[in-house]
C-alpha cells in the first residue's frame, strides 16, 4: 500500500444525528455509494485527510521510480530493459494522475513536492529498501505492485470522484506490472543455480517489507474508522494483509521458493494462511527516516529538484516572453 498511517480528524466518527444538515447529506450520499466531486461541499477533515492520502500515494509513485531505475541501465536483455522502462514510465504517470486528483482539493503539486522534499510528507516505507540484484526487479513487481493492487482495487470505489477515476486507470497498469514481475521471478527461479539463489534472496529481503506496506493493525484506530466511514479507506490493514498472504504464498510455492517464515501454514478450518507479523520496530524506524535507503532516496529527489530549477525557470521565462509577444501583436 502506498499510503500508510494516514491521519484523519483523530476524533470519533459522528453519528448522522449529530451532524448539521449539510454534513448529513454528504455522509448519506457516501453511504448510498455516491461520489463526491471537487465542487461539492465537503467537511474540512475529509479534504485534509484526502490530501494527505492522495499526496502520499503520489509521492510513493515518484520515489518508487528510484529503486527500479537503479536497474534500468543494467537490465539483462533489450526486452527486459524496454519492459522496465515502460513500467517506470507508468509509475511517473500514476504520480501525475494522483497529483492532479489532489490538486482538485485545493493544494498545488509544487507545495506537495516541497513537503516531500523537506520530509514533511511521507512516501511508502517499501521504497526505502535497496534493490541489490536483478531478481529484485521480479520481487518488486510481484510483491510490491502485488501489495499495492490489494489496496488500490477497492479504492476504485472510493467516495472521492477524481481519486476513484485515477485508481481505475492505475489499476489496469499495476496488474501488468505484477505479472511482469512474476514473469521475471519465474525465469530466475527456473534458471541457473545462481539465478535461483538471487530469486530466493530477493524473496527473503522483500517478504516482510511487503507485509509492512499494509501498515500495523488498525482495528482500534480512530483515524481508520473515520476514513472508512468516508470510504477513503475500504478495508482494514489486517484484512488486506491476509488477502495478500493468501494470494502470494501459493505463488511462492509454485516458483519453488521458500517464504522466510517458519510459521507460515495453511489453516484448513479458516481457509486462510497463518503467518508471522513483520518487525514493527523496523517499520517505525523506516518511517522515522532510518530505513536502509531513506537518505539516498530523499537526496536523489532533492538533487533532481535543485538541479532542475534552471530548466523549470528557463521554460517558464520563455513561455512568458511568448505570451507577451502574443499580446503585443494583438
Amino acid at each position: 500500500m502506498y499510503a500508510q498511517m494516514i491521519k484523519s480528524t483523530g476524533e470519533g466518527v459522528k453519528s448522522l444525528d449529530d451532524m448539521e444538515p449539510e454534513e448529513r447529506a454528504f455522509q448519506e450520499r457516501i453511504n448510498a455509494g455516491g461520489k463526491i466531486e471537487p465542487k461539492d461541499w465537503m467537511p474540512e477533515g475529509y479534504r485534509k485527510n484526502l490530501i494527505r492520502q492522495i499526496g502520499q500515494h503520489a509521492h510513493s509513485e515518484i520515489v518508487g521510480q528510484l529503486p527500479e531505475g537503479n536497474w534500468i541501465t543494467r537490465a539483462p536483455t533489450l526486452e527486459r530493459k524496454a519492459i522496465l522502462l515502460a513500467k517506470v514510465q507508468d509509475e511517473a504517470g500514476h504520480g501525475l494522475y494522483l497529483y492532479c486528483a489532489a490538486e482538485t482539493l485545493g493544494v498545488t503539486r509544487d507545495q506537495m513536492t516541497r513537503d516531500l522534499l523537506s520530509g514533511k510528507m511521507k512516501y511508502s516505507s517499501i521504497f526505502n529498501y535497496p534493490t541489490l540484484t536483478w531478481a529484485d526487479m521480479g520481487a518488486v513487481g510481484w510483491l510490491v505492485d502485488g501489495a499495492a493492487i490489494m489496496n488500490q482495487v477497492p479504492l476504485q470505489r472510493t467516495s472521492y470522484g477524481p481519486y476513484a477515476r485515477a485508481m481505475v486507470r492505475i489499476c489496469k497498469e499495476e496488474s501488468f506490472h505484477q505479472r511482469q514481475g512474476f514473469d521475471i521471478m519465474m525465469k530466475m527461479a527456473k534458471g541457473t543455480e545462481a539465478q535461483r539463489k538471487m530469486a530466493q534472496d530477493a524473496l527473503n529481503r522483500f517478504w516482510y517489507p511487503s507485509l509492512m506496506m499494509f501498515g500495523p493493525s488498525d482495528a482500534e484506530s480512530v483515524h481508520s474508522a473515520q476514513s472508512m466511514a468516508w470510504k477513503i479507506k475500504m478495508n482494514s490493514n489486517d484484512e488486506l494483509r491476509q488477502k495478500f498472504v493468501d494470494q502470494t504464498a501459493p505463488q511462492a510455492e509454485y516458483l519453488g521458493l521458500t517464504v522466510p517464515d517458519e510459521n507460515l501454514k495453511f489453516n484448513e478450518e479458516t481457509g486462510h494462511y497463518e503467518f508471522s507479523e513483520p518487525d514493527w520496530d523496523e517499520f517505525f524506524d523506516v518511517l522515522k527516516g532510518n530505513g536502509p535507503c531513506n537518505t539516498e532516496r530523499l537526496e536523489a529527489r532533492n538533487r533532481a529538484w535543485d538541479e532542475g530549477r534552471w530548466v523549470r525557470e528557463g521554460l517558464l521565462a520563455h513561455a512568458e516572453k511568448k505570451r507577451k509577444t502574443a499580446i503585443a501583436a494583438e
Binding site: 531505475g69 514510465q89 501525475l96 503539486r109 538541479e307 534552471w310 528557463g314
Partner: protein
C-alpha cells in the same frame, strides 16, 4: 555486400541502443515529472528500434546472433554508433541538445530509408519515422525554450552546443559502407542530407538565440568503430554486466 549491409544495420541499431541507454540514465531524476515521462518514452522508442535494427543485422549476418547477442556481447571496437550519442548526459540542457542534434539527422535518414530497396528496412524506417518526428519536435521546443529562456538557461544551452557541435560532422561523412548502400538503393548518401539539416539548425538556433560555432571541425571514428571516445567503454561495463557475468543464464 552483405558485410556492408551488416555494418550499416549495426550503425542504425547502435545509435538507437547507445542513445536509448544514455537517456534511460535519467530515470526518476528529471527536472520535472513531465520530463521524466517524456525521456522514458523516448528511451523506450529507441530501445524498441534497436531490437528491430539489430535483429535484422543478426539475420543478415547469418551467424545465429540475435539482437541481444549483438547488444550485450560485443566490445567497444565492434560498436558502430556515432560519437555524438555516446557523449555523457551532462546537465539536462546538454542531454536535450544532443537529442536535438541527433534527431534532426535521424529523421532525415529515416525518411530516406522509407523508400529503401530493402523492404524490411523500409518497414522499420516507416515505423520509426513516426516516433522520431515526435522526438525532434520535443527536442526542438526544449532547445528553443531554454535557449531563449533565462540568462542562465541561455548560457547552459550555448555551452552544450559548443561542446557537442564537433560531433555533428560525423553524421554526414559518407564512407565505403554508405557508398555501397547508395549503389544498392538501400540508403541515402548522408552527405546529401547536410544542406537541409543546416537550414533546420540555423532556423532553430536563431529562434533559440544561440550561436552556431564557426569551426566546422568534426571528430570521427564512431560509425567506423576506429576510435570511440573513452565514455563508451564505461557505458558497456554497466549495460553488459549481467550478461557477461552470467553467460549461461537466460533472463
Amino acid at each position: 555486400m552483405s558485410d556492408a549491409l551488416f555494418e550499416y544495420l549495426c550503425r542504425m541499431g547502435d545509435n538507437t541502443l547507445v542513445l536509448g541507454h544514455r537517456i534511460s540514465e535519467w530515470c526518476g531524476v528529471a527536472p520535472v515529472l513531465e520530463e521524466d515521462i517524456a525521456l522514458a518514452n523516448t528511451a523506450l522508442d529507441l530501445i524498441g528500434q534497436t531490437q528491430l535494427w539489430l535483429g535484422l543485422a543478426g539475420e543478415v549476418e547469418g551467424k545465429g546472433r540475435d539482437a541481444d547477442q549483438l547488444a550485450f556481447h560485443r566490445d567497444v571496437w565492434d560498436f558502430r554508433n556515432l560519437l555524438l550519442v555516446e557523449q555523457p548526459n551532462g546537465d539536462f540542457g546538454r542531454t536535450m541538445m544532443r537529442q536535438f542534434l541527433f534527431d534532426g539527422w535521424h529523421l532525415a535518414q529515416l525518411k530516406g530509408l522509407m523508400t529503401s530497396s530493402n523492404d524490411q528496412i523500409a518497414a522499420i524506417a516507416e515505423k520509426s519515422v513516426k516516433e522520431v518526428t515526435y522526438h525532434l519536435e520535443r527536442a526542438t521546443d526544449t532547445v528553443i525554450g531554454l535557449g531563449d529562456g533565462t540568462e542562465e538557461s541561455h548560457k547552459r544551452m550555448q555551452d552544450a552546443l559548443d561542446r557537442l557541435y564537433p560531433f555533428v560532422g560525423e553524421m554526414f561523412i559518407a564512407d565505403a559502407v554508405d557508398q555501397a548502400m547508395v549503389s544498392d538503393g538501400i540508403a541515402p548518401d548522408p552527405s546529401t542530407l547536410r544542406p537541409d539539416y543546416d537550414a533546420m539548425l540555423d532556423a532553430v538556433l536563431a529562434e533559440a538565440t544561440l550561436q552556431k560555432p564557426t569551426d566546422d571541425f568534426a571528430h570521427k571514428g564512431g560509425k567506423s568503430g576506429a576510435r570511440h571516445t573513452e565514455h563508451l567503454g564505461h557505458m558497456l561495463t554497466q549495460m553488459q554486466w549481467l550478461q557477461r557475468a552470467y553467460p549461461d543464464a537466460t533472463w
